[in-house]
Amino acid sequence: MEDFNIKETSNGQIKVLHLEGFLDAHTSSSLESTFNRLIDEKSFKVVVNFDKLSYISSAGLGVFMAYIEQMRNEQGDIKLCEMSDKIYNVFDMLGFPLLFEIYKEEKNAIEKFNAHD
């Protein structure tokens, strides 16, 4: 099984998740539990940094779909950033840009959250 890691940093009220490695069916549960914990902690503003992510499967994509509504219902959001072209193509092909805000750089995503406040 390939490795998958989540490094978590904070920027004010915003949580930034740095994903590393392979996000597939085996590893998606750790991302699910991270989201569950953020919801419990009432951290609804989340930026996900894909810089070090090398692979994402449909199940991995499904995790974002499963949490986006809950975050938005709580006036938060999941914003995506720093995707490699390969990853972006997958998102793009499935139509994610329609639903998710996807930024080139992490700071753009954070700025967007702050602009709203």
Binding site: H26, A59, G62
Partner: protein, 575 residues
């Protein structure tokens, strides 16, 4: 590859392959269903998904369990729902006559049946797509393909879960059987103390069910129940305990009980009262059990097991009681055996040879200590004392008194001086000694005589003893002169002595009542007549042979019966 359509197809194919590899690598239902949901949601931009797994095949309505859900809140995984779905393999929310609230609340809009061959395994429920539209036709085909790939794995994992559950139940049964076995083994050892047995029961109850509170009432060797063991601090009013007698069967405690005691137990968080019966079906104990740790009710299987171990424990406790009693009895028996040995040491271990005479004697004790005494003592070159006595009663008191007589006789004879010795006076003195040492209901039949081998005279006193028989030719002379048994009265009655001269061929037989009172199986006594005819038949033999023929006759007569009393004989014969 630049063609977006072909690369999309490739991605689709890739994810199908990845998916099929993935779900076949795992048999956990939760993992498999979670992946089906996330994969479809990820690909179709759907934010809500749920899988219902069918739990029964009721004719009217189908029952399902929510086995996996993603993107929805406030819905319990493992919740059971009932819902009738339309017959089509794919249908929409408006096709369902009465959609379950869970389906409406979460805006599920399209449903896919999951089949394994023709068997319905469950339903995949999906929310609408992001653009609020239903999936396209090719997307529906994709979902159906995915479900087809998954169905075998879902079926396998359901079976796997079922087997796992069966295994778990089996393991529970094995654990319980092992507990029973273990308890049985420990309990069957007699060296288990009552405290240890109950401690073991407590641990078993704690280990298997987390049952903390246990009170055991017992009626063993008592008219009423008493508390045998209690590990809670609750005080049980005395008047309640007697009401235990009314309980005949097991009781699940409820607040509505009429009995104050049962109500009381219920209020103290007890749940179950189990009576324990012995082999004669009498209730000897009562166990009151508190709640299980997980607060669930006792199931039939629980009760079956509990009754077994409680029965086992209580019987073991009763066995411990019995064992204790038998140990105490054995200790007493050991003491009696020691007393018997001491007593035997008081009897002569060899009989002196008497010139011109033959003497044989025997003491055949009944069980344990008894009260017979005999002696043959050399006093001077020509004088010998022959003593035979029988203390009334049996057991330790009789044997103590017998020891007393023996020491009195020996003391007085130690200072034997021919010219000053008066048999009547000494008999009276022995009477005084014994009288002062006993209560009046204890007494001794006592016969003794002094044989003078110079003139063949035998001077005797018979203090209430079975009259010795002197066989002379075809005649029998009873040696009856004497008086009262010794130990009854201190004084006020004079003893008398008798005197016979022994002729060659005379045989004197002294005996205790144990000889003639031996019963046969018809409760008939051996009696004096049989004794006389036995001696008469062997009158020309040696004293040893006469003695043995008496013993043999008595033994044959009493064949199959217990020897009830000591049997003592002295045979004296003059050449």
């Amino acid at each position: 590859m630049d063609n977006p359509d072909s690369s999309k197809k490739l991605l689709e194919l890739n994810s199908l392959i990845e998916f099929s590899q993935l779900i076949n690598s795992n048999l956990e239902l939760e993992f498999i269903l979670g992946n089906i949901l996330l994969s479809i949601m990820g690909r179709m931009l759907i934010t809500k998904g749920m899988v219902l797994i069918k739990t029964n095949s009721d004719k009217t309505k189908d029952c399902f369990k929510i086995s996996s859900a993603k993107g929805i809140t406030g819905t319990e995984i493992n919740e059971n729902i009932e819902c009738a779905f339309p017959g089509e393999p794919v249908f929409k929310i408006e096709d369902i006559d009465e959609p379950h609230p869970v389906l409406k609340k979460n805006n599920f809009s399209i449903f896919f049946k999951i089949y394994f061959f023709n068997k319905l395994l469950g339903i995949l429920c999906l929310g609408k797509k992001l653009n609020n539209r239903y999936p396209e036709k090719n997307e529906i085909i994709f979902i159906e393909t995915l479900l087809n790939i998954s169905s075998t794995t879902i079926e396998n994992s359901l079976k796997f879960a079922e087997i796992k559950n069966l295994n778990k139940q089996l393991n529970e049964k094995i654990t319980k059987l092992n507990s029973l076995f273990e308890l049985g083994k420990v309990f069957s050892s007699n060296f288990q103390s009552i405290e240890e047995t109950i401690k073991l029961l407590r641990y078993t109850l704690l280990g298997n069910y987390g049952i903390k509170d246990l009170i055991i009432f017992s009626k063993y060797r008592a008219d009423n129940f008493y508390i045998l063991s209690k590990n809670t601090s609750i005080e049980i009013p005395e008047e309640y305990i007697s009401s235990l007698n009314e309980i005949r069967t097991r009781v699940f405690l409820k607040p509505e009980h009429k009995s104050n005691f049962l109500k009381f137990l219920f209020e103290k968080d007890f749940q179950l009262v189990i009576p324990v019966t012995n082999q004669r079906n009498e209730i000897t104990s009562m166990a009151c059990l508190g709640k299980k740790l997980n607060n669930t009710d006792y199931s039939d299987a629980d009760i079956e097991f509990l009754e077994s171990i409680i029965n086992l424990s209580v019987l073991s406790v009763e066995n411990s009681f019995l064992f204790k009693e038998s140990i105490e009895k054995q200790a007493l028996e050991n003491e009696l055996n020691i007393a018997r040995e001491i007593q035997l040491a008081l009897l002569p271990n060899s009989i002196p040879e008497i010139n011109g005479y033959q003497v044989s004697a025997v003491n055949k004790p009944a069980m344990h200590v008894g009260g017979d005494y005999f002696d043959v003592l050399r006093l001077t070159d020509s004088k010998y004392a022959l003593v035979i006595a029988d203390v009334t009663g049996k057991g330790t008191p009789a044997s103590l008194l017998m020891a007393n007589v023996q020491s009195a006789v020996h003391s007085f004879l130690k200072f034997f001086e021919d010219e000053h010795f008066n048999l009547i006076d000494v008999t009276q003195k022995i009477n005084e000694v014994i009288y002062s040492n006993t209560s009046s209901e204890k007494f001794i039949t006592f016969f003794w005589g002094i044989l003078d081998i110079e003139d063949g005279s035998f001077n005797y006193v018979n203090a209430g003893h079975n009259q010795p028989l002197l066989f002379r030719n075809n005649e029998i002379i009873y040696l009856e002169e004497g008086g009262l048994m010794i130990g009854i009265m201190e004084s006020g009655f004079p003893y008398q002595s008798g005197k016979v001269s022994l002729n060659p061929g005379d045989v004197l037989v002294m005996y205790t009542d144990g000889v003639i009172e031996q019963n046969d199986t018809d409760q008939l006594e051996f009696g004096e007549e049989r004794l006389i005819s036995t001696v008469t038949n062997s009158i020309n033999e040696s004293t040893d042979i006469i003695l043995n023929s008496i013993l043999n006759c008595v033994e044959n007569f009493g064949y199959g019966m217990k020897q009830f009393d000591d049997q003592t004989l002295i045979i004296l014969k003059k050449y």
